[in-house]
């Protein structure tokens, strides 16, 4: 029942908010609903740990004659992603307070619609239902970016939509095709899809369809071309939703669907497909170094970090996959934190260009401190959240292939390079005309950052609880592969 509520409540909130006229009411209601949703996910967490780590299953016949049922459940993988989503959405809504938003009710309504989509994606145990929620999350994301976005938004967001939609259609073909390869009577249930009987050449096509769909969403090099422009042009809450949550849909989809069904392709191709994310790590890092726009830099760093996660998933060992799960959570938290900081900087200086900034730390020491902690998390310093995940991924990759691991390991060096250099140019040094009047953070502004910093340190220092969930979820996937 909790699982159902987790999906249904955002839908309800989205519908309800559509009719709210007053701005103040809309934002308060939105924030309250997001907190309630977070509360429910905590309840689900408690229940998850109390009752034997089993699925909180919810099943309802939907199109029984077509083998589709509304089957939702929460296992270790889902639990982590659900927690991440319900944790980030209230933060994202909070950061919109005090800003002038055109048509606030529709804005919050779309955020909840997207949350409903994400919840469905992370908890679906039925292939077709997974696909439906996958698309349900895309539409509001597109509208948020295109309606509230910045310069040249129509062209950029349309590219984003067309790109991701084409990818997901490939996945749809693959899912329907798999359905007809399941044992009779066919079903979209995940257990049946896992058991589908594919010839080797069919396996490759199904794998490619899944891989491209997920690679576009993450995005993995060379399917990333929509991403930097979209992150830059989207409004801050939109970038946070895209970077923090939507990119995880692709990675999650890999673990939940692609790996268990077509892992043998990865075994027989000897790491051919791992070359892509590993190349992406180096490529995106090199580009990130040269970026002058803060948002764009974060966008490219995101390609690098998520490329490492994708590589970690595809080497098919428990350690790396577990690290990938943790790193998905950490990256979501860190990127939202970084976007919040950039938002604060832009609100104060009206620019995100690195070369125009400088010396902010003198004027705003609190901002500088928060920025530093989140940044260290992002470059994987020990005792921060980024370290746990990336260390495990690299460890797992070393077992798989030394060369890949060595190249992928460059990400840590590179990210330290571009992140710290960026920090140096933005925060340190002397103030200039632009940054002279910068004020420090108020208490109100610090609340979301405090929440994020707590998570950065919690996962970094006591990752036990999160590791347990990841271990449980990954264990099942690895069990299928063996």
């Amino acid at each position: 029942m909790l699982t159902f509520t987790l999906i249904f409540l955002p839908l309800l909130a989205a519908t309800g908010l559509f009719f709210v006229k007053e701005e103040k009411w809309a934002r308060n209601l939105a924030f309250a609903m997001a907190l309630v949703e977070f509360g429910i996910s905590i309840a689900a967490l408690v229940q998850y740990f109390l009752y034997c780590h089993c699925h909180l299953l919810f099943r309802l016949d939907w199109l029984a004659s077509y083998g589709i049922s509304l089957k939702f459940g929460i296992d270790g993988l889902s639990m982590l992603m659900v927690l991440l989503t319900t944790f980030l959405v209230p933060i994202i809504i909070y950061t919109t307070f005090g800003q002038k938003i055109n048509r606030p009710a529709s804005f919050y309504s779309l955020i909840f619609l997207m949350q409903a989509g994400l919840m469905g994606v992370f908890t679906a145990f039925d292939g077709m239902v997974f696909y439906i929620f996958w698309e349900l999350a895309l539409i509001p994301a597109y509208f948020i970016a295109a309606f509230w976005g910045g310069k040249d938004r129509i062209r950029i967001t349309f590219k984003f939509f067309a790109y991701t939609f084409s990818g997901s259609l490939l996945m749809l073909v693959a899912i329907i095709f798999l359905y007809f390869r399941t044992p009779l009577p066919h079903s979209f249930d995940h257990i049946w899809l896992y058991a589908s009987n594919l010839k080797p050449d069919e396996q490759i096509w199904v794998f490619l369809a899944f891989f491209i769909a997920f690679a576009i969403k993450v995005p993995i090099f060379p399917f990333h071309t929509w991403q930097p422009d979209t992150y830059v042009t989207a409004p801050y809450p939109g970038s946070m939703l895209l970077g923090g949550l939507m990119s995880k849909m692709g990675l999650f989809g890999m673990i939940r669907w692609m790996i268990p069904i077509t892992f043998s392709v990865l075994n027989t191709t000897n790491g051919l497909f791992i070359i892509l994310p590993v190349t992406g790590i180096v490529y995106a890092s090199l580009i990130a170094i040269r970026q002058d726009d803060l948002k764009r830099l974060i966008a490219y760093s995101s390609i690098a970090h998520l490329g490492l996660v994708a590589a970690g998933i595809m080497v098919l060992n428990a350690q790396a996959m577990q690290g990938a799960m943790i790193q998905m959570i950490s990256h979501g938290i860190n990127i939202v934190g970084l976007f919040i900081i950039i938002q604060y900087i832009e609100a104060r200086t009206k620019t995100t260009s690195i070369s125009e900034l400088g010396g902010i730390a003198i004027k705003a020491p609190r901002l500088a401190a928060f920025f530093m902690i989140i940044l260290l998390g992002s470059i994987a310093l020990p005792l921060t959240n980024g370290f746990v995940g990336e260390f495990l991924i690299l460890l797992g990759m070393f077992k798989y292939n030394m060369v890949f691991a060595a190249v992928a390991g460059l990400t840590i060096i590179f990210s330290a390079l571009y992140m710290l250099w960026m920090y140096q140019r933005v925060m340190l040094g002397n103030t200039n005309a632009v940054t002279e009047q910068v004020s420090d953070l108020s208490w109100k502004e610090m609340i979301p950052l405090i929440a994020i910093v707590i998570m950065v340190l919690w996962i970094g220092i006591f990752p036990g609880m999160f590791m347990k969930m990841a271990e449980n979820g990954v264990g099942q996937v690895i069990g299928i592969i063996r």
Binding site: A64, A146, F158, V173, F177, Y179
Partner: protein, 459 residues
């Protein structure tokens, strides 16, 4: 049967009201009459009778489709008052002809005999030739009717010739008799005369449905025809023709691999490609909807090559989802044309700001036609695609899905214009019944997406 009689009587009554000059009574009478016919049609459920020596066969699939046709016509009439509100003269002739066209369409969904099919198609077509030209003062309307009439009557000749050849070889017009003839000759191969007849018959039907390469009339005719009647053409006429074709194939070739399957599949693929690619380059919504309807005919052809127990139902669901979305799109098109005088995409700029319900309706309609879950259009497409993959038409489904991906390029044009472009400040004049109707269509589109099982196991 009762519904056919009641519809015919309704058409005559409408003409009488026209003679009596009771203009205000027309639409209420029509709406009530259509509802009554809809109820009668639904009451035929599970009746399973054949009438007049198998001329008409009342079976559940026929009942379902004829109910959809009557329902779509009802919805279109809900918008008639707004569309014709500046016209002073009584419109009994146009309304009556629409209802007679509907009678033809209903006959096409019950036929058990090729003669009946021809009568149905001609009743429908002749009425449509008149309707296409019903805006007498407009040169585009005259162009539309002339093009439609010349091509349509020529292709009706094909149809009739095909029926004659089939009769010549099989010795019967009756679908079941033709089926036993086909079954008899299935092993040794059908004689050339039958094949030629089949070929001509198929061409005649494909023309009505606007399948490439017989689709060239559609954009011009759709554009020239008065918009309300274009909506009628794109939904009722299309649904009736597609189902008539399905009915013919599914009965005469029941359990036998059709010789025509590959041809239809290739034509469907060509239609999907042409419809979607050309749709990208249309400057206005009406022409775009014409190409959208062409590509949707292509998707519906998937049903022709993929017979299984559930294909008829897939086609039914698809027709419903396509019809309600298309009618909704045309309804908004009517409003914008009225306010702006044209329907170029620029006319839609920023209308979402002041006309939220209307913009939302059009957006949902476009998303549903694109096939984005969880709207009705997605479920319809899924049913058809699944049926096709089940029968081994994977390549055709991949073409169809690629077509859907391309279609984003044009279905999103009005959405982008309405929501993301600068406001051009128009406020659409919308009456209350009109607004309720479009809201109803929107809710139906969303509801069928969430609760597809309501209609998934019917026939």
């Amino acid at each position: 049967m009762n519904s056919i009689i009641s519809l015919s009587v309704l058409g005559v009554l409408v003409l009488f009201l026209g003679i009596l000059k009771k203009k205000t009574w027309l639409l209420p009478l029509i709406l009530v009459g259509l509802l009554a016919s809809l109820v009668m049609s639904v009451l035929h459920w599970n009746m399973n009778r054949s009438l007049f020596h198998n001329m008409l066969i009342i079976d559940n699939s026929g009942v379902a489709f004829s109910s959809v046709l009557i329902f779509s016509t009802f919805l279109i009439f809900m918008f008639a008052a707004q569309y014709y509100r500046k016209v002073v003269r009584p419109l009994d002739d146009i309304y009556a002809i629409m209802i007679f066209a509907l009678v033809g369409a209903v006959l096409m969904s019950y036929f058990g005999n090729l003669i009946m099919l021809f009568i149905g198609i001609e009743t429908l077509s002749i009425a449509l030739y008149v309707l296409a030209g019903s805006h007498k003062e407009a040169i585009t309307s005259n162009e539309a009717t002339l093009k439609y009439f010349l091509l349509g009557s020529f292709l009706s000749g094909f149809l009739l010739f095909g029926i004659a050849l089939i009769y010549g070889s099989s010795g019967s017009f009756d679908l079941y008799a033709i089926h036993s003839y086909v079954a008899e000759h299935a092993g040794a191969g059908l004689p050339p005369m039958f094949k030629a007849g089949l070929f001509l018959l198929i061409i005649g039907l494909l023309f009505k449905i606007a399948i490439a390469p017989f689709h060239f009339w559609a954009p011009d005719v759709y554009e020239g025809t008065p918009t309300l009647l274009t909506a009628f053409m794109a939904t009722v006429v299309k649904t009736a023709s597609v189902f008539a074709m399905y009915r013919f194939f599914s009965i005469t070739f029941f359990g036998i691999h059709g010789v025509w399957e590959m041809t239809i599949a290739v034509l469907a693929a060509i239609t999907i490609v042409i419809g979607n690619l050309t749709g990208l380059y249309q400057p206005n919504l009406k022409r775009m909807l014409a190409y959208s309807s062409i590509s949707h005919s292509g998707y519906m052809m998937l049903a022709m090559v993929a017979f299984s127990g559930r294909t008829a139902n897939a086609l039914l669901f698809y027709s419903i989802s396509y019809s309600i979305a298309t009618i909704a799109a045309f309804a908004i098109l009517i409003l914008v044309r009225e306010a702006m005088g044209n329907d170029y995409f620029g006319s839609f700029n920023g209308i979402a700001k002041k006309n939220r319900i209307e913009a939302f309706t059009l957006a949902v309609a476009m998303l549903s036609l694109t096939g984005i879950p969880p709207l009705a259009g997605f479920i319809g497409k899924y049913f058809l695609f699944a049926a096709a993959i089940e029968q081994g038409w994977l390549w055709l489904v991949i073409v169809a899905i690629a077509g859907s991906a391309v279609s984003v390029g044009y279905y999103f044009k009005p959405i982008i214009a309405m929501y993301f472009r600068e406001d051009n400040g128009i406020v659409l004049q919308v009456g209350r019944p009109f607004r309720i109707s479009i809201l109803f269509l929107t809710i139906l589109t969303i509801l069928l997406g969430f609760l597809p099982f309501l209609l998934s196991g019917l026939i």
